[in-house]
Symmetry: C2
Subunit: 354 residues, 2 copies
């Protein structure tokens, strides 16, 4: 496959015009050449936090549903998809992992377990009934298919969880946590370097207790952000971008089953969610995931921050993949996986290549 | 006067050993020379926000009291002193300015009016009875003796106040304000570049409304900080230092009449204040200024942030003076005012030179 006269956007080498050649799913040749470009070629996006899309819900998806989901996500440029569970009993989680394990699509990169090892005080839209401490109670299949576990550092068994996760190369991402600044510092020193949907469901900043939000800004955590203009204000996105830089931001959707469907009532881990005006909420008014499409998040970030395309390729793909230790992915460079989004100058998708 | 074999700390040229010569109150010669230093020579400190010291209160001080205050402050290395009023009726303010105008000491650099043009919702320890909008209601003497006015951008007449302040070269410092991020942005765009005792008595950070605290971090405001470990946590000081840099921090004491005296009950602008355990509080528990000595604030900042001495000279003197447009001050350089603190390696004051 050959892409000629494109604006190539690489998260490390930056933006340049030229052509890209691929063979057998790998990039074989990147040629820098002065030319008039029509399309932008970026690394395929990675959504590391998404509960569902167009009627498909990670908690109830059959193998074929996961595959359809992966196909739908391509429309948004997502070539690395991490279906995400919510807090649930372990039998149910095992069923989800089993179904996922039987799905067959290269963009299904792994599962993300959001909970149940989180803090009830910051449950958000997680069902408190299933929230618990870690006690080696995860099904065995986790080791092979789970790449991320969102957990709160203050829960019982956290140290054990970290050991477990390190052993099986699973990334711990701090989320739904009421941890203080000191607790966050301790976690960072233990090697935890990722935060889930920052700063939602974290302890806020106070000038006598910086909390998880302050720690997220202070330490070099990589932070997920839901750029729907609802979970945080556009100003807050700019603020995080200014303080932490594009290097430390990972765009996610946190999208739920209702995404891409009509307004109405939906189910999220046994809780009723109402979707209206682009917002998904519990009866209590608490935000319950989003109905954000990945591409819209990317465009919003670009609009809010006025970042470069190079930076945009970091927050939309490279940072997430490097942070998860996924090799040869997220760049436009010889030897890397040939997964791309082809966009026009208005950041509309022309094609996604997997 | 000659200082030989000292470690010279200049906020611009940095740290170097050598000698400094002065004549008629001006620095005439700064010689860089390799030597073993015994003492550190830094620019004299500037305290731009202090309500009182050792039984003297700006609101009731007679001319001789202001002079004694200036003398006391030298013990802490303060060679630029800005006695600070609290919200009060205009007759009372006029009396204070008159008394100040008759005091005679070179370190009495000007007055700081904290209020009354502030927001009642963020009154803190300011007497709400006197809080009001600006309506050209200041006594005439203000033009000659006041260098700083703390005001809230959301009060009525703020634009007029800014015009008035510009005309008479008075610095507006945002404080006791409930302004939103947008209101702060607007003020910053109007040329307001200073914030009073950040982030105390400002709207806190929320991820859907960054507030005055968020704006203080986001925009290049110079921010006063009370480094007593009480008004903010040491972590918060480090946080501000990391985000804004030493360039944008101005150490102040916000000290009240009880500073340097015993625990007990005191008066602050007509409100009863109890001093205990290093804290000054209203009956409601609200912090009411500090009992911080300037030198302790300097040492705390140094300890909390592990900054360089060069940076320490910025936060303790240079930034405040440059921000106020005071010429030839705050540096150790030929032609600048010969005001110094001589410190030993433990940052204990050996001498203050005015």
């Amino acid at each position: 496959m050959l892409f000629e006269n494109v604006l190539i956007v690489d998260p490390v080498d930056g933006e340049f015009t030229g052509s890209v050649e691929c063979e057998n799913g790998l990039i074989t040749n990147v040629k820098k050449r002065s030319c008039t470009w029509k399309y932008i070629l970026m690394p395929g996006f990675a959504d590391t936090h998404t509960h569902g899309l167009k009627g498909i819900d990670a908690m109830s998806a059959l193998p074929a549903d996961f595959e359809r989901w992966a196909d739908f996500a391509l429309e948004d440029g997502v070539t690395y998809l991490f279906p995400t569970t919510v807090s649930s009993d372990f039998k149910m989680l095992e069923k989800v992992i089993k179904n996922f394990s039987k799905a067959n699509c290269p963009s299904l990169a792994g599962l993300h377990l959001e909970g149940p090892f989180i803090n009830k005080e910051k449950a958000g839209a997680q069902n408190p009934e299933y929230i618990c401490g870690f006690n080696h109670n995860l099904p065995d299949l986790v080791k092979d298919y789970v790449k991320i576990i969102t957990a709160a550092p203050e829960i019982s068994g956290f140290r054990e969880l970290v050991k477990f996760a390190k052993k099986y190369n699973i990334k711990i991402s701090i989320g739904h946590s009421n941890a203080t600044f000191s607790e966050m510092k301790l976690a960072f020193e233990m090697g935890i370097d990722r935060i889930t949907h920052f700063p939602n469901a974290l302890r806020g900043i106070h000038h006598r207790e910086l909390g998880g939000t302050g720690a997220g800004l202070f330490f070099d955590f990589k932070v997920e952000m839901i750029c729907d203009g609802i979970h945080t204000s556009p100003d807050f996105v700019k603020f995080v971008y200014k303080i932490k830089g594009a290097e430390n931001i990972i765009l996610v959707t946190d999208s739920i089953v209702a995404t891409g469907l009509n307004n109405g009532k939906y189910n999220l881990g046994g809780l009723e969610v109402t979707v209206k005006d682009g917002m998904a909420k519990l009866k209590t008014g608490t935000l319950a995931g989003s109905v954000l499409r990945f591409l819209d998040g990317v465009r919003n970030f670009y609009k809010y921050t006025k970042c470069s395309l190079k930076e945009l390729s970091k927050v939309s793909s490279y940072n997430a993949l490097v942070n998860l230790g996924i090799k040869n992915a997220g760049r436009i460079k010889e030897g890397f996986l040939a997964r791309f989004v082809l966009l026009n100058e208005n950041l509309e998708i022309v094609d996604t290549v997997l």
